[in-house]
């Protein structure tokens, strides 16, 4: 029960801070010259994208250790991370077109980055579908781990592809070699938002983890 409560608190704090990110982004951060107001979505879009992808890496890493140790906690964590990753992908996939409409003039473009977030999203959905299609918990965990590891190994290829195709997408401006080219106050807002999304990820995962643990306990007692 405590896990669930901790998760709820973290999430509540993170959501409150998310509101703070927006107050700061809208009121205290300068409007970007070329993109105008639409650029504000960047503070939501990029941290969500970073965590959507990182969540898949965590799924993969937890899966590798699971196959060696068979510790059910790792399987629960991988499942939780995948669920949260799915949500973050959904955020990226909705904020992307909202930004794209005024800037590119179209809701959807088969731009490499957007496309590959869609892949990531579909990877997650497949992972969750596979979990729901296997009734035996042992087999479910093993199968999910195999898929999770494959998913993680797919991520570098997705990245490689992104850089090999001509794209309309803005190149990364924060995570690039050398000095970030972002003005100071924008960078601060962005880093603040990244921190908040990290907290959101942790809060969501802890809650999902607690819920799946409780569900398993329920199955045992029902027996």
């Amino acid at each position: 029960m405590t896990h669930l409560r901790v998760g709820r608190w973290i999430t509540a704090v993170a959501l409150l801070l998310l509101a703070g990110v927006y107050v700061r982004a809208l009121a205290y951060t300068p409007v970007e010259a070329s993109q105008g107001f639409a650029q504000k979505i960047f503070y939501l879009h990029v941290p969500a994208a970073i965590w959507a992808e990182t969540a898949m890496i965590f799924v993969g890493l937890a899966s590798i250790v699971y196959l060696f140790t068979k510790d059910p906690r790792l399987d629960r964590f991988a499942a939780s991370s995948a669920e949260v990753g799915t949500v973050f992908c959904a955020i990226v996939l909705t904020t992307g077109p909202i930004w794209g409409k005024p800037i590119w003039g179209t809701w959807w473009s088969w731009d490499a980055r957007l496309t590959f977030t869609l892949f990531l999203f579909l990877l997650y959905v497949g992972y969750l579908l596979l979990r729901s299609a296997v009734p035996d918990p042992g087999a479910r965990a093993r199968f999910a781990a195999v898929l999770g590891i494959c998913g993680m190994c797919e991520v570098p290829f997705i990245h490689l592809s992104v850089y090999m195709f001509p794209t309309l997408h803005p190149m990364p401006i924060v995570l690039q070699p050398g000095r970030p080219k972002l003005p100071g106050s924008m960078l601060t807002t962005w880093l603040f938002s990244l921190g908040v999304f990290t907290l959101l990820y942790v809060g969501f995962v802890v809650q999902r983890y607690a819920v799946s643990y409780l569900r398993e306990q329920l199955e045992v007692t029902e027996q």
């Binding site: 199968f143 195999v146 797919e154 592809s161």
Partner: protein
Amino acid sequence: MRSPELLRHAWAVASKDLLVELRSRTAIVSVATFVVLVLMVFNFGRDQTAVSNVDLAPSILWVTFTFAAILALNRAFQIELENQALDGLLLAPIDRGSIYLGKLIANLIFVATIEVIGLPLIALFFNVRVLVAPLVMVIALATVGFVAVGTLFSAMTVRTRFAELLLPVLLLPFMILPLRWAALATGLLLAGRPLSEVQGWLNMLAVYDVVFVVLAILLFPATVNE
């Protein structure tokens, strides 16, 4: 694990699968028919005056092969479940890797057969020159990659509900990348560009193959060991 033994057992598994396939023949006949039907769908499902054959050919080729391969992969582990033969394989003193490799070899030969049937048909129906050596290489490299992943996944999906539906849902995200590289390379080759221009795509496909074949061999035991 000694490698000659691994390969000998893998070949035993593969040749058994191919013999089963040869005996029943229904699978290869239905997949070949499916290929012809997909090509017909492509022919009638487009405006022939708007898109030229050579522009569309790479898509036709890869979409056809993708769906035919998924059909083929779906039944890879089916024969092992029919009489619980999989238990027999797992009980035999052979490496798990040789079971996977055997299945992979059988699937590759099966999918290659489909491609050998499909390629001349594409050349015939859409009037493009496809029988060029570099293109065969592109097809071979792309096929190894997605059949490797597909063989691994089919070992799992075959034991789930909705196996036929789940395999494509899991596999397609892993197929799209090599498919895209292969389709771009195919487009360049069909347009008569030299091999050097597609070298980059070939390298990507080769790296993808190596990574996922090794990964699948390592992960396969986890799909069968309870």
